[in-house]
């Protein structure tokens, strides 16, 4: 009897997957609207985190100063912050009675982007700092003795740490696109405006629209897998282009 129930459940799931695939192939506008917003918000968050996180990572890895270990520890700790807790903190900040309430950001795409950027910054800094620290410290002296300025030296170091820098970006994006708590609390999951893959999965599952939920889940996994594959391919292409540029 229980075996029959298991078979029936599996059939249900299979049917759900088939319908989900049909939705994906049909180009359902709701589905693809959610996908587009996810990519846009998470991509923007990763870029923002890179912009303000890279100088911090460079400072932590290349300079010695008092309190450096504490700051590094602080960022490492923040990696594990529950997204819903951060979402709550940001909600309180962006809400009408909060210190940034006057900006009117709550339940807007900007709030999600900012919130996800704050969420992923510790991961980016942590990975990037480790990557830069792994670079031969003599690269700094090498660049300087070849005539590089401070900024040129920093670029030289970043180039040497490129694999780690890329990894920090991928990890940031993956964390952003897969998180739920921040987007839900500061974005509001408004259909057609601030609903993204994770919040939509949550809504459709609660409503019983399993086809849509499964379809969104499949898309999410494809994105995460796909981005990683693109980066690996890009790294290989980078080497080919370097070899192509060097004259005989």
């Amino acid at each position: 009897m229980s075996f029959t129930l298991v078979i029936l459940a599996m059939v249900d799931i299979l049917e759900g997957i088939i319908k989900a695939l049909q939705l994906i192939v049909s180009g359902d506008p709701t589905l693809y609207g959610i996908l587009y917003r996810s990519l846009l918000f998470s991509g923007s968050a990763a870029v923002l985190a890179t912009l303000w996180g890279t100088p911090i990572a460079m400072l932590l890895s290349l300079k010695d100063f008092r309190g450096k270990t504490i700051i590094k520890g602080f960022f490492n700790t923040l990696i594990g912050i529950p997204t819903v807790v951060l979402g709550l903190v940001l909600f309180l900040i962006f809400s009408k009675s909060g210190p940034l309430g006057f900006l009117g950001l709550l339940y807007t795409p900007a709030a999600i982007i900012l919130g996800e950027a704050v969420l992923v910054t510790p991961i980016l800094i942590s990975i990037m700092t480790s990557a830069i620290e792994a670079v031969d410290p003599e690269i700094v002296n090498l660049a300087k003795t070849l005539g590089a300025s401070e900024s040129q030296t920093a670029i030289a170091v970043l180039k040497e740490a490129l694999n780690g820098v890329l990894l920090s970006n991928i990890a940031s994006f993956n964390r952003a696109i897969a998180e739920l708590g921040v987007a839900l609390l500061v974005g509001g999951n408004i259909a057609g405006s601030t609903d993204i893959l994770t919040t939509a999965i949550s809504r459709y599952t609660a409503r019983g629209d399993l086809d849509l939920a499964v379809a969104l889940g499949i898309l999410l996994m494809i994105i995460i897998f796909g981005i990683n594959m693109i980066v690996i391919a890009t790294r290989k292409l980078r080497w080919l282009s370097i070899l192509g540029k060097s004259p005989q």
Partner: protein, 353 residues
């Protein structure tokens, strides 16, 4: 001769540790100056100060008669470049490595291609442009680092133990490149080394360093011709022995250096002494031959080092002696490890402190 760089009372402290203590040094334009000293004597620190990578804690640095300050340090760095003891390469092709300094100086692309090509030719790496620098052998990597410095055509080239991590064949190649760069490009070179043999043959002048100070400067002939306490204090290398001397009935001095090895010297002395015999003063033979030389010992070859046109052998006669012979002699005598040989040297070749 014009002075290209000068250190005046330069002291460098790292915390409480003194790396350099009140160093005064002039570097003449066009010369090869060797800083000779053991590890930890301050050679690298001195080079980094000349490369303007480090600032002295006390004292002044001058380059082409201009005092080096915080304001002009970046500008001064363009006039000298340093090749580090441990080869450091960018994670890219040989071409991009060698071209880096030229790109930073905004050199036109055509000129970069030309200068990179010339530099690679000078170091014997023509056609290596597209090879990945980090995948080359140790000797090739060191030559890439040299080419990168040579391409810049700086007035001053600083080399930190340029052959320390190389096998004898590559070491000889690098020494030849250094001599060529100095001769053809008229580049002033300051090189740090702990290799006495290298210090004898390559530079115009030597500065002996120990404990962060320069104890002596002079030509190789001045430094090695008359052995000084400073040289032996760190030398403890080839052909330097401590023994007990006694004056014999016929007026010569016999020094017991241990393991039944007694060396005859012309200088009169008694008691505990240090002795040094230059490798080039020792004759190597397959058989014993009669001569006026007082010191003849039988032993076995325990080490062979190939330096291109010369070969250095370590012969164990109870104590290890380093002998230098030409490559041709080495081949003609058909010498190998464990070959039984005789070493012969005159009593007058034995230098006593």
């Amino acid at each position: 001769m014009a002075i290209i760089a000068e250190l005046k009372n330069v002291t460098k402290l790292y915390g409480t540790k003194m790396a350099l203590g009140s160093v005064n040094l002039q570097v003449d334009e066009g010369e090869i100056l060797a800083l000779l000293g053991p590890n930890g004597s301050g050679k690298t620190t001195l080079l980094k100060i000349l490369a303007f990578l480090e600032k002295p804690t006390l004292g002044e640095v001058y380059f082409s008669n201009r005092k080096v300050t915080d304001q002009n340090m970046m500008q001064m760095r363009m006039k000298s470049t340093m090749v580090f003891q441990k080869t450091v390469l960018f994670d890219t092709t040989v071409y991009d490595n060698v071209a880096y300094g030229l790109k930073v100086r905004k050199t036109p692309k055509k000129e970069i291609v030309e200068r990179v090509g010339r530099a690679l030719e000078l170091v014997g790496l023509e056609g290596f442009n597209k090879r990945h620098a980090k995948k080359l052998s140790g000797g090739e990597q060191q030559r890439v680092a040299l080419a990168r410095a040579i391409a810049l055509k700086t007035k001053l080239l600083l080399l930190d133990e340029p052959t320390a991590n190389l096998d004898p064949k590559n070491a000889a190649l690098v020494e030849e490149i250094i001599a060529t760069v100095n001769r053809e490009l008229k580049t002033t070179i300051v090189m740090a080394t702990h290799n006495m043999f290298q210090a004898k043959n390559l530079p115009n002048r030597i500065a002996l360093m120990n404990y962060g100070r320069i104890s002596e400067t002079g030509t190789p002939k001045e430094i090695f011709g008359k052995l000084s306490k400073n040289l032996v204090s760190f030398a403890s290398l080839e052909n330097t022995f401590v023994g007990k001397a006694k004056i014999t009935e016929n007026g010569t001095t016999l020094i017991d250096i241990g393991n039944n090895v007694e060396v005859a010297a012309t200088s009169k002395c008694q008691g505990k002494v240090s002795v040094f015999i230059s490798p080039e003063d020792i004759i190597l033979s397959r058989t014993h031959f009669v001569s006026s030389a007082r010191n003849v010992f039988k032993g076995k070859i325990v080490e062979i080092s190939n330096f291109g046109s010369v070969v250095r052998l370590k012969v164990d006669v109870g104590k290890p002696f380093t002998v230098q012979i030409t490559k041709r002699s080495f081949n003609e005598m058909k010498l190998n490890l464990n070959s039984e040989v005789y070493i012969t040297f005159k009593a007058s070749s034995v230098q006593i402190l």
